[in-house]
């Protein structure tokens, strides 16, 4: 793995999240392991239901359903988070680890001003007076680029635009200088110009505060722009993981190929139809025992009935049994031109 010299801030080992349902136990996250280094931006991509959000919610200790079972190990700065008493988890949650949620329209409590909501978090973690917490909130709003921050702090969520709300949510997440920021599709609900500003903000967070970031997205453009490393998830498992540059230059898993192949090319002839991955993701009730992608994979073979391990090859991990030659052939077939490597 690259960056071995750097200290790791988060180590997830064999994380499994399952739900008790009427139709039996369902595994939504299945044996996910990942390591995040200091000052690193890791992007987790995959389609809806692939378990990316549940993975970061587990890190936050926010898998709240009484029917959920979270197993495995999550170590944050060497400290085990799974099974940590709620009182101690609360101290970390919102303090050292903060989270930005997907939909800024509904992520803020409608009946409190944005300043109040930020100050509330500050006061939950720091011994600040009301006045100091409010001043801190205003300063945070200014630092995320909200014009007239002292006025905006008095505004209610419904009085702000989507972009402003997301900035408010980000200001809130940053309020206690988190060492680890978990961002769950922070730009999905926003228009493109605002997206770029939010990404700048996340980058600035790393450069100014030295935070590490896990960024969940299904937008490959965002990944290429901001991530150091990428983990691709499918049906609750990580199927491929590599440095961003390597992943875009040489995607190896047929699912990653499919994801990248479905991005319209910027140059050359415009395809009449964008290639799509055939079939639908497996229902969580019926995930294949072997490779979960096999039923949709053009190159599946008998050996795919056994679960492929996530094997590293020069720091590029893939859970697929295809030989390097077969992958190269698949790549040239699916991707006419290499997709814009950063």
């Amino acid at each position: 793995m690259s960056g071995e010299a750097k200290a790791s801030i988060l180590e997830v080992r064999d994380l499994t999240v399952s739900f008790r349902t009427e139709r039996g136990l369902v595994r939504a996250v299945d044996g996910v392991s990942l390591t995040l280094n200091e000052r690193e931006i890791l992007s987790v991509v995959g389609e809806s239901g692939s378990g990316k959000t549940l993975t970061v919610l587990s890190v936050m200790g926010l898998v709240h359903s009484p029917n959920a079972i979270v197993e495995g190990s999550i170590r944050f700065r060497g400290r085990e988070l799974i099974g940590l008493p709620d009182r101690e988890m609360r101290r970390i949650r919102g303090g050292a680890i903060a989270m930005i949620f997907q939909n800024p329209m509904t992520a803020l409590t409608p009946v409190y001003t944005i300043g109040h909501q930020i100050a509330e978090q500050v006061r939950a973690h720091r011994r600040f007076s009301r006045r100091a917490a409010w001043a801190h909130a205003v300063a945070l709003l200014a630092s995320v680029g909200i014009p007239n921050p002292s006025g905006a702090a008095h505004r209610f969520p419904h009085e702000l635009s989507g972009g402003m709300r997301q900035r408010g949510v980000i200001a809130m997440a940053l309020s206690c200088d988190p060492a680890l920021l978990l961002a769950d599709e922070p730009t999905t609900a926003l228009d493109v110009t605002v997206q770029a500003q939010i990404l700048d903000l996340i980058r600035k967070l790393r450069s100014e505060f030295g935070s590490s970031v896990i960024l969940i997205t299904h937008n490959m453009g965002v990944v290429a722009e901001i991530a150091d490393r990428v983990a691709v998830m499918y049906a609750g498992r990580i199927v491929e993981r590599a440095e961003t540059r390597a992943l875009f230059r040489e995607p190896r898993h047929p699912y990653t190929l499919g994801l990248l192949g479905s991005i319209p090319p910027l140059e050359g002839e415009r395809p009449r139809r964008l290639p799509a991955i055939p079939g639908v993701p497996p229902s969580p009730f019926a995930i294949p025992a072997g490779c979960p992608f096999a039923p949709r994979c053009r190159w599946s073979q008998a050996a795919c009935a056994a679960r492929p391990p996530l094997l590293a090859e020069e720091g590029h991990e893939t859970a697929c049994i295809l030989s390097p030659e077969a992958r190269a052939a698949a790549r040239s077939e699916l991707l006419a031109a290499p997709v814009g490597a950063t």
Binding site: M60, L62, H64, P66, D86, R90, R91, I92, R93, G94, G95, A98, M99, F101, N103, T106, A107, L108, T109, P110, V111, Y112, E120, Q121, A124, H125, F156, H158, V169, M172, A173
Partner: protein
């Protein structure tokens, strides 16, 4: 916020004038409802009816009649009963209103406090024995008829157990004015309060629990948890505030209706001479001025409490202020 309050109050006045006009028209101008004949009594000669009509100004055009009636009701306050000639109506209501207000206000305090407690505790312990127990108790409270509960309370406290240490303090049925004897007022009313509140605790607790559980699934609750707040803080600061809308709505309607005479059954069972009892008697005797006055009095409280609720909304939820 200020302009919202002013607008709401103007709106309220308009509604009150409208209601008074409508009530007047229904009782005095519907075909067949000849008030002069009612006042004159049975077997009155046409001459007598005509005299009465002149005396009460009932031969004037309707708008004038309306103004005269409102003048008697609100300004000179000398509107008299048709049934018991000479009995002034406004003082009757003024005497009955404090009884009803005392009864309903006390019950309202009890049912709001316990309704919120039941709702919050049930939601906090959702799907546990505590939750189920509270909801079953709430359902029982909703199902018990208030007159039956009141009679059982009376049976126990006035008769069967009255001589034990438990209920020897319970005074005889009836009202004790607050100014004359605050302690007596409290002792006389505390059982009626509880009796009246039981039903509403059940309803309010159940509704609040449902709203809280719905609110707890909202995205902003996850944000609040992610901030590091405790479950209790999330529940009381974030979920509860957003769940109070239907609670407050129901309160406005119920409170207004009860003060307006809806607590009739409780009043009768506990021998309280309130507005409900007054209305009941007026209806029995078809005492038109009394009915009209009590209806206007009732509508006044319904409208005022609804306006207060709207203003309260704006205080609870900033999104309402801009409408």
């Amino acid at each position: 916020m200020f302009s919202f309050v002013v607008r709401r109050i103007l709106h309220m006045l308009l509604v009150l004038v409208g209601i008074s006009a409508m009530v007047f028209l229904i009782f005095f101008a519907t075909p067949g409802a000849d008030p002069a004949a009612r006042i004159a009594g049975r077997n009155a000669t046409p001459d007598t009816v005509a005299a009465v009509r002149k005396e009460f100004g009932l031969d004037k055009p309707l708008p004038v009649q309306y103004v005269l009636m409102m003048d008697h009701l609100l300004v000179t306050r000398d509107l008299t009963s048709f049934v018991n000639r000479g009995e002034k109506i406004v003082p009757e209501i003024e005497e009955a209103a404090p009884v009803t207000l005392s009864l309903v206000l006390g019950a309202a305090v009890i049912w709001v406090v316990f309704g919120v407690l039941v709702g919050v505790i049930a939601a906090a312990f959702k799907d546990t024995v505590i939750d189920r127990g509270l909801m079953v108790a709430g359902l029982i409270g909703v199902s018990i008829p208030v007159f039956w509960l009141g009679e059982v309370v009376n049976l126990l406290t006035q008769s069967r157990l009255h001589d034990t240490f438990l209920f020897s303090w319970v005074p005889a049925l009836g009202y004790v004015p607050l100014r004359a004897n605050p302690l007596g007022w409290f002792a006389a009313l505390v059982l009626p309060w509880i009796t009246l509140a039981v039903l509403y605790i059940g309803i309010y607790g159940r509704v609040l629990r449902a709203n809280l559980i719905e609110a707890l699934n909202e995205d902003y609750i996850r944000t609040a948890r992610a901030k590091g707040l405790s479950d209790w803080q999330v529940l009381t600061r974030h979920a509860l505030r957003c769940s109070l809308i239907s609670f407050v709505t129901m309160f406005g309607l119920d409170f207004g209706a009860l003060v307006g005479g809806g607590a009739l059954l409780t009043e009768v069972v506990f021998g309280l001479q309130g507005v409900g009892a007054l209305t009941y008697r007026a209806l029995e005797d078809l005492d038109l001025p009394m009915i009209m006055a009590t209806v206007i009095y009732a509508s006044f409280f319904v409208v005022v409490s609804n306006a207060s609720v709207d203003i309260l909304y704006a205080a609870i939820d900033p999104r309402v202020r801009e409408r």
